[in-house]
Structures are given as structure tokens and as C-alpha cells.
């Protein structure tokens, strides 16, 4: 008589990953902080809206210290800083996610091509190496400076800045993803199940989509998480140097740049956006760390 009820239902993969992820204290902390920041920027504006002011009221309202009406005070032209922090956070996070998506898409595409097709591997990796040797920050600055007005003329200053910066960051940060994916694909290609799929005449496109891509997802996800942090920092560097977003469509980097002039009198105008950037990047890095542990099946067993 065997008692089968003693055997638990086998854990699903997602549950196993989540269980491992929860053990990483930093990652859980990161997830909470990032969640809070996302809620703050996305849902915050629904509850918190500074009243529309006339020009006179705005002038009277400028440089106010924190109060119940303005929890973070007001800036040099009477705008509520809390509201601006929320708007800026939306843009900052959106830039991070969008640039990461581009970088991961390009990186995975090139990595898979270079790993799967032997003939493309050499030239594509040379191409990747060349991109790695480009001086990125100077080039990004030049790109933004030279193309900003042209693109702004076509789609408007806000959308123009957004598209240009997301695109510029995306096409200059796919290299690490490509290298990781290529390494994985090179190893996967030799596995029996890929050989089996090929032996029954599966076309390369389907082998890649069905058998290879699902197996490179975990390193790609880790790279993607870290890519968000990278993109947010790069964007804020551009904004910090005054070559990022326009002042009426701010990001956290831009707010920091605007606050620099008033740094000596109102240091909190610099510290709030700076803290927001740092916390976002820190939490995203911790999440990436935790994901790396959780997605590795060898580490998960322990």
C-alpha cells in the first residue's frame, strides 16, 4: 500500500523561480522600491494635481519651501515639484524600458544570427567589436546635438527628443546582449534536441524560434534588467549635460540639471531627482542580481 498523497504536486517552473527569487533579500527590496516608484509615477498624478495658476499667482508662488499644499515645495517659476517629479519619472522610466527593448531586440537578433549561422558569425562579431570600441558618450552627445532640431521639426519637440534619445541609446547598447546570446546559441546548437529537430528537416527559422530562443530567454532577461539601469543612467547623463529632454518635458536627469543653478540655496531640488535615479538604478541592479540566481536551474536546486 503506497500512500501517494504524501507526494506534493510538482512545483511549476514559475513558482520555483519565484521561490528562489524571494530568497535574495536585495532583489525583493529592489522589486518593492521599483514597484513603489512605478506606482508613484503612474498612479500618483491621478491623486495629486497642482492647481492651475495664473502668471501672477505663479510669480507669487515661486521658490516656496515644502508645505501641505506643495510637499516638495515649488521651483523658480512656481511649479509644484512633486508633480514635476511624477511627470519626470514617467518619462525616465519609459526611456529606460523603451531603450532596453530596442537594445535587447537588436542584440538578440544579431546574437542569434552570429551564433547559428557559421558564415555570419565572424563578420557580425567584428561589427559588434567595432561598436564596443566606439566612444559612446561623445557619440551620443553628437547625435543628440546634430539631429535634435531636425527630428523635433517632424514630430514635435517632446516626441522628437523621446524618439531620438531612445533610438540613440538603443542602438549603442545592444552589444553585450549580442555577445551573451551568441555564446548561448553556440552551445545550444550542438545539443541533441537541436540536432534532432534539424534532422527531421525543420527549417532554420523554426529551429531558432521554437528550440533556441526559448532557451536563451533567461540570460536575455538578466541582460534586459541591467539594460534598463544602463539606459536610465545614460539618459540622465545626456540630460545632465543639457543635451537631453526639453525643460517642459522633463526627466529626472533634466530636473537635476535645472536644479544645479539653485543648488546652494535649495539643495533638495537636486537631491530628490538624484535620489530617484539612484534608487531606480539600485533596485533594478538588485533585481537583475536576484533574477540571475533565480533563473539558473543549477543554483535553484540548492
Amino acid at each position: 500500500m503506497t500512500d501517494t498523497s504524501a507526494l506534493d504536486k510538482p512545483e511549476s517552473q514559475a513558482a520555483a523561480i519565484w521561490r528562489q527569487f524571494r530568497q535574495h533579500k536585495g532583489a525583493v527590496f529592489g522589486l518593492c522600491v521599483l514597484g513603489f516608484l512605478i506606482v508613484f509615477t503612474l498612479i500618483g498624478p491621478l491623486f495629486w494635481q497642482a492647481p492651475e495658476l495664473t502668471t501672477t499667482q505663479q510669480i507669487l508662488n515661486k521658490n516656496k519651501p515644502p508645505s501641505w499644499a506643495h510637499p516638495m515645495g515649488t521651483d523658480q517659476i512656481g511649479r509644484d515639484i512633486l508633480e514635476r517629479m511624477m511627470q519626470a519619472g514617467r518619462v525616465s522610466l519609459a526611456v529606460g524600458f523603451a531603450a532596453m527593448l530596442i537594445a535587447i531586440f537588436v542584440g538578440t537578433f544579431i546574437g542569434v544570427l552570429a551564433g547559428y549561422f557559421k558564415r555570419l558569425g565572424g563578420p557580425l562579431m567584428r561589427f559588434t567589436d567595432m561598436f564596443l570600441a566606439l566612444p559612446l558618450i561623445p557619440l551620443l552627445l553628437v547625435m543628440v546635438m546634430l539631429f535634435r532640431d531636425k527630428i523635433a521639426g517632424v514630430v514635435g519637440p517632446e516626441m522628437g527628443a523621446f524618439i531620438l534619445i531612445v533610438f540613440a541609446i538603443g542602438v549603442t547598447s545592444w552589444m553585450h546582449a549580442a555577445r551573451i546570446v551568441r555564446g548561448e546559441v553556440l552551445a545550444l546548437k550542438e545539443r541533441e534536441y537541436v540536432l534532432a529537430a534539424r534532422s527531421i528537416g525543420t527549417p532554420p527559422r523554426r529551429v531558432i524560434l521554437r528550440h533556441i530562443l526559448p532557451n536563451v530567454i533567461s540570460p536575455v532577461m538578466v541582460a534586459a534588467t541591467l539594460g534598463i539601469a544602463e539606459a536610465i543612467i545614460t539618459e540622465s547623463v545626456l540630460s545632465f549635460l543639457g543635451l537631453g529632454f526639453p525643460p517642459d518635458f522633463p526627466t529626472w536627469g533634466r530636473l537635476l540639471f535645472d536644479g544645479l543653478q539653485y543648488m546652494q540655496l535649495y539643495p533638495e531640488r537636486v537631491t530628490w531627482p538624484g535620489l530617484a535615479i539612484s534608487l531606480t538604478v539600485l533596485s533594478v541592479n538588485y533585481i537583475g542580481d536576484g533574477l540571475r540566481d533565480a533563473l539558473d536551474p543549477k543554483a535553484r536546486g540548492r
Partner: protein
């Protein structure tokens, strides 16, 4: 080893040529070129003359080749002339800045010492902070010190230098008043007082850049030490009865330094990139500040030259790191 080095050197040439082409095309084909800056009221023949004086009226590949010739032939010749008082480069056209109408290289030469003193010291400080932290946190893995070190590294990774810089300025420059908030480029070190002054004004930029670099390097040092601590030769050394000090600081440290040295070499070009921010924040008048100034002033030759110099730095230090790795680790043989 020599063949490998030579092969890498030869491979670097097409890479650099490609990068130079990318930089040249990006800057040159951009809509903000000088031809579009000339007001429409200028009569066409004058316009022609202006374009000719900027030498932008020729086809693009001619200009690219001319630029390459200027960069790789005329400017080095000028350097030789300047060093030895010869005149090989007489009558050859140099790369001229649009902003100052003077050759680009002497301008960069003026700026370079500022960058090198600040950045070089910062990197040195960073390495000196990072190595002991890395070594000790590996030796006492999972101790309180190690956890603190991990946290320090994570924060160092994540907090951007422009934010640490502004916080430093607010705390040490404004509230405490220990250090000046702006770097005085004209200061000359002649006696003890001016030396102290120089140290004080360098303190903040050096600490900001140094801490950012220390974070990454200490992590590499730690993981490299950990890997070596588990090796058999360490057990052998201990079994022979060697002191803990000799085992850790001689046997393990020397072997762990191999990857760390390459990481340090690889990091050098990127700190020049990071210097752009720090120089801008503290008002250090170095090449990073020159680049920002040139970009704001639409000074294409200056931007192209500086960007290409950054690229040469990256390629050179990649090469140095690879060769160093082979030299230091006898197990690695490339040929």
C-alpha cells in the same frame, strides 16, 4: 606571443579606420552642418567662398581621405616639428577648429594635462581603495565587512557620478566649506601653500571618480581572490606551514591580480568618458569640457578629432589588456 601581438595590431587598423569613417560620416552628414548655418541673405558667391574656406565643398570621400591624411600624417609631422624644431610639415594644411580658427591639436594639448592630473589621480585612488577592500572581503567571505563591501560596490555601481558629485558639492563645498566647489585651472603649484590649494581643489573630483571606479574593481578583485583561495596550491602552501600573510598576500594575491590588471587596463578609456561629466560639474578645463564646448559651438573638426582620440584610446587599451593577460598568465598561449 609576438605574432599574436602583431596580428592584433594589424587587426586594430581596419577597426580604427571603420570607426573613423563612422565618426566622420555621422558628424558630417548630420543636418547641423556648417553649410546650413550660413544665413540665406549671404549672396551665393560669398557662400561659395565661405564653404571653400571651410573646405566643405568637395565630395565626401575626398574630405574623408583629406581628414585621414591630416590626422595620421600632417599632425604627427607637426608634432615632430614642435619637438625637434624641424620643419617637415611646412605648408601642409592642419585640422582647423571652426571656433578658434587655430589648429585643433595644440588646443587639445593644452587641455590634456588638466584631464590627466585629475583623472589619473582619481583612477589611482580608485584602484588603491578597491584592492584592499576586495582582498579583505574575499578573505573573510560573508563577514560583516564583506557584506558592507558588497553594499558599497552596489551603491557605487548604481549612483551616477553626477549625483555623487552634486551631493559632495552640497555637503563638503557648501555646508562644511572644506573644499572649493570649482576647480581653478590657472593655479600653478610653486610652493607648499599652492600645493595644498591644488590638493584641496582636486579632492572632490578625485573622490567622486575614484569611488565610482573602486566599486567595480573591488568586485573583480574579490571574485578573483575567491576563485584562487580554493585552489590546491593554497592548501599546499598552508600545509608547508607558511604564515597566513605569505599565503594570502604572496601566493593568492599574485595569481588573482592577473584578471584584475586587465580589468584595470580596460577601464582606463571609459574613465575618460566619465571625465566628461566630472569635468563639467567641477569646472575642470580638460578634454571632456573641450568636447562639450565643441559640441555646443558646432565645431565639427574638434568634435571629430576628440571623438576619434577617444576611440583610439579604447582600441589601444583593449589591445594592451589582451597582451598583458597573455604576458602575465603563462597558461595562456595564443599561438
Amino acid at each position: 606571443m609576438l605574432t599574436y601581438t602583431l596580428r592584433r595590431l594589424l587587426l586594430a587598423i581596419p577597426t580604427l579606420l571603420l570607426i573613423s569613417l563612422v565618426i566622420f560620416l555621422l558628424v558630417d552628414l548630420a543636418p547641423g552642418s556648417p553649410a546650413s548655418e550660413i544665413p540665406l541673405t549671404v549672396p551665393p558667391e560669398v557662400r561659395e567662398k565661405i564653404l571653400e574656406s571651410l573646405s566643405v565643398n568637395q565630395p565626401i570621400f575626398v574630405r574623408y581621405l583629406l581628414w585621414l591624411k591630416q590626422f595620421f600624417w600632417v599632425e604627427p609631422l607637426n608634432g615632430i616639428d614642435w619637438l625637434f624644431g624641424t620643419n617637415y610639415a611646412e605648408g601642409m594644411q592642419r585640422i582647423i577648429s571652426y571656433q578658434t580658427r587655430s589648429p585643433v591639436f595644440p588646443l587639445i594639448g593644452e587641455r590634456l594635462p588638466q584631464t590627466l592630473t585629475v583623472i589619473g589621480t582619481a583612477y589611482l585612488v580608485g584602484v588603491l581603495i578597491a584592492l584592499p577592500i576586495g582582498i579583505y572581503s574575499a578573505y573573510r567571505q560573508y563577514s560583516l565587512f564583506d557584506q558592507f563591501g558588497t553594499m558599497f560596490a552596489m551603491i557605487g555601481f548604481s549612483v551616477p557620478t553626477f549625483f555623487t558629485g552634486t551631493v559632495f558639492i552640497i555637503v563638503f563645498g557648501v555646508w562644511l566649506g572644506w573644499f572649493p566647489t570649482k576647480y581653478d585651472t590657472t593655479l600653478e603649484v610653486t610652493d607648499w601653500d599652492s600645493f595644498v590649494k591644488q590638493l584641496r581643489q582636486m579632492a572632490m573630483p578625485v573622490m567622486v571618480l575614484g569611488l565610482a571606479n573602486a566599486a567595480a574593481i573591488s568586485r573583480y578583485m574579490r571574485s578573483s581572490m575567491l576563485e584562487n583561495m580554493r585552489q590546491d596550491y593554497v592548501r599546499t602552501a598552508r600545509a608547508k606551514g607558511m604564515s597566513e600573510r605569505t599565503v594570502v598576500l604572496k601566493h593568492v594575491l599574485r595569481n588573482s591580480m592577473i584578471p584584475v590588471v586587465t580589468i584595470i587596463a580596460l577601464g582606463i578609456p571609459s574613465i575618460f568618458g566619465g571625465a566628461i561629466i566630472t569635468e563639467n560639474l567641477f569646472g575642470v578645463n580638460g578634454i571632456g569640457a573641450a568636447l562639450i564646448g565643441a559640441i555646443r559651438g558646432n565645431d565639427l573638426p574638434m568634435v571629430q578629432t576628440l571623438a576619434f582620440i577617444f576611440a583610439i584610446l579604447i582600441v589601444t587599451f583593449n589591445l594592451i589588456a589582451d597582451v598583458l593577460y597573455g604576458l602575465l598568465d603563462p597558461r595562456i598561449r595564443y599561438d
